[in-house]
């Protein structure tokens, strides 16, 4: 390494970003110390200052390291810090920073309200940010951000937000392409209109009754958990959609036509039938469908799914390649008249993989008929997996069911497998 020219030594060392390793490098030799100004990325792990006995504070040490760099582009701080520290860091490197990730820990230490200006407000000095990721944020007052013109990626994990503060934060990012909000509580009505947004992942804590309106017309991928009402008027480019609600009911999903949708995932304890049938109707081009919805009906009144016509379902989703359904949906396809329209002209053209999770052994004969229809009328089926979950084995019909399923597997060795 000694034979390398200075520029290459500097280039190599600029690729080290862990503060502890950098400190070691500074001590290795004078020549290595001279590489420090060329650092582009800095990372301060959670426990990096645990050994600090006396002398400077963590804020000051971080300041010192940052101020020795010329063009810091990325700063990740997981260790605890104060807003005074943050202010001095951003004074130094605010203009050059492209990526900033901070563990705010505002929820744990309740310093958020007492420090002025707040850490969130200080972020406005990083005016050229392209990516911002914040952990443990309390944003119950306006962050008072200026416009982050270059910000394309915003991620907030573990936060206490309010409708109006989130709105303001999103308004400050007009060019946002990716938005991730995970483990966020305190929201009731969320409205997202960022015009260039393409990927969005939302996970809201609470009673599962949040209202979401997303009007970004360029949206390609959306994952949302924890909302009860979802409005997506502009869905022309949506390729992947996942809606789930662990806590509450999904009562309404309003969508534009899902002309580009290839992947659809629907999960939750209870969805209204309007929401389910509406979604299935709109998703006519879907290739990969995952459904794990346990009940339908109105709030508080859990109902099984109504009968679904087998032929109608597959004819309305002709591009379906993989299908994974759980109990309730499968049961709906196994009702008395589900198979009534099956005739020799019927065909399921593209289906290659099916995974069915069965919980109840009831109605075994009908279930077998449906499974057999799937096997007989698909042209390209490669694999069918039948997952049997928590079935009460004391019920006599459970034995019948197992017998049927094993026979099915025996007759279709290459395709059917049981888990």
């Amino acid at each position: 390494m000694e034979s390398l020219p200075d520029a290459l030594v500097h280039y190599i060392l600029s690729k080290i970003n862990n503060a502890k390793d950098l400190a070691i490098c500074n001590c290795v030799s004078q020549r290595w110390k001279e590489a420090m100004p060329y650092l582009n990325r800095l990372f301060f792990p959670r426990n990096v200052f645990d050994n600090l006995s006396h002398g400077k504070t963590p804020d000051e040490i971080v300041s010192q390291i940052i101020s020795s760099t010329i063009n810091l582009e990325e700063l990740v701080v997981y260790c605890p810090f104060s807003s005074i520290g943050l202010a001095s860091w951003l004074c130094c490197a605010g203009h050059s920073l492209k990526h900033l990730e901070l563990r705010m820990d505002s929820i744990v230490s309740y310093q958020a309200s007492t420090e002025t200006p707040s850490k969130l407000e200080l972020l406005r000095s990083a005016c050229n940010l392209e990516s911002l990721k914040l952990w443990g944020v309390v944003m119950v007052q306006s962050p008072r951000w200026d416009i982050f013109h270059k910000l394309t990626n915003l991620e907030i994990v573990g936060a206490s937000l309010r409708d109006h503060t989130l709105s303001e934060a999103l308004r400050a990012c007009p060019n946002l392409i990716q938005l991730v909000l995970l483990g966020c509580e305190g929201l009731m009505y969320v409205s997202v209109e960022n015009p260039y947004l393409e990927q969005c992942k939302l996970d809201f804590f609470g009673a599962g009754d949040c209202f979401l309106t997303l009007k970004s017309s360029k949206l390609k991928s959306l994952e949302v958990q924890g909302c009860g009402v979802i409005r997506l008027p502009e869905t022309q480019h949506l390729k992947s959609l996942s809606i789930s609600n662990n806590a509450g009911q999904i009562s309404m999903v309003e969508l534009g036509k899902l002309v580009a949708l290839e992947k659809l995932s629907m999960r939750g304890v209870q969805w209204s039938w309007d929401a389910i049938s509406g979604m299935l109707q709109m998703a006519s081009e879907v290739k990969h469908l995952y459904m794990k919805v346990e009940f339908t009906g109105d709030t508080g009144n859990l109902q099984p799914f109504p009968e679904i016509d087998f032929v109608d379902f597959f004819n309305s989703h002709p591009k379906l390649e993989t299908l994974e359904i759980h109990g309730a949906m499968f049961a709906a396809l196994c009702q008395k008249n589900s198979l009534k329209n099956v005739d020799s002209k019927f065909s399921i053209p593209s289906l290659e993989k099916v995974v069915i999770t069965v919980r109840s052994p009831l109605n075994a004969e009908q279930k077998m008929s449906t499974l057999e229809s799937l096997l007989n009328y698909t042209r390209s089926l490669k694999k069918m997996t039948i997952k049997i979950l928590q079935m009460k084995s004391s019920h006599s019909s459970a034995d019948d069911f197992f017998e049927y399923v094993c026979r099915l597997r025996f007759m279709n060795r290459n395709i059917v497998c049981i888990e």
Binding site: K15, C27, S29, R31, V48, I61
Partner: protein, 165 residues
């Protein structure tokens, strides 16, 4: 550029290593090196390009790297980015699994030939090997001469005391 629908025979570029060995590579692969690209553009590439700073051993490895990256990039367009990424990551990992001396030769070659992704890969590999080491270990691994005086060393270790266990 050309409107012909027939596949053109690929132009070959001839390189000669510092120890006299000749290498013939396709132009597409050669263009991975910005240095060679400029030579081609300046019209110096019609005869053999001598590379006095690169030995045959290193040059053949560099060519292997560039060929693979070009091939995966071309073939991967249909498969999509993720497949391309995974394949290249596996190749890259194996590629830099060499002794220290070879690694530094590759860095110098990538720098001279101006091949950015190879330079980044090799430099990052060296940087990664410095993780979680002590000052003494680093000096030993890389044969670094300690150019601090005793006082300077003491001072700097005090300054960064928080980094020492």
């Amino acid at each position: 550029m050309s409107s012909s629908t027939e596949p053109q025979p690929e132009k070959k570029i001839h390189l000669r290593s510092s120890d006299g060995e000749s290498f013939e590579i396709g132009e597409v692969v050669a263009l991975e090196s910005v240095t060679i690209k400029h030579m081609i553009e300046d019209g110096c590439a019609d005869t053999i390009i001598p590379l006095p700073n690169v030995t045959a051993k290193i040059l053949s490895k560099v060519i292997e790297y560039c060929s693979r990256h070009v091939a995966v990039a071309e073939g991967g367009v249909a498969l999509g980015e993720r497949v391309v990424d995974d394949e290249l990551k596996a190749f890259d990992k194996e590629f830099v699994n060499v002794d220290q001396h070879t690694l530094f030769e590759l860095i110098l070659a990538a720098n001279y030939l101006n091949i950015k992704n190879l330079l980044d890969l090799t430099c990052q590999t060296v940087a990664d090997s410095i993780k979680d080491k002590s000052v003494e270990e680093v000096r030993k691994i890389f044969n670094i001469e300690n150019d601090y005086t005793e006082e300077e060393e003491e001072e700097i270790r005090k300054e960064y005391a928080w980094a020492f266990k």
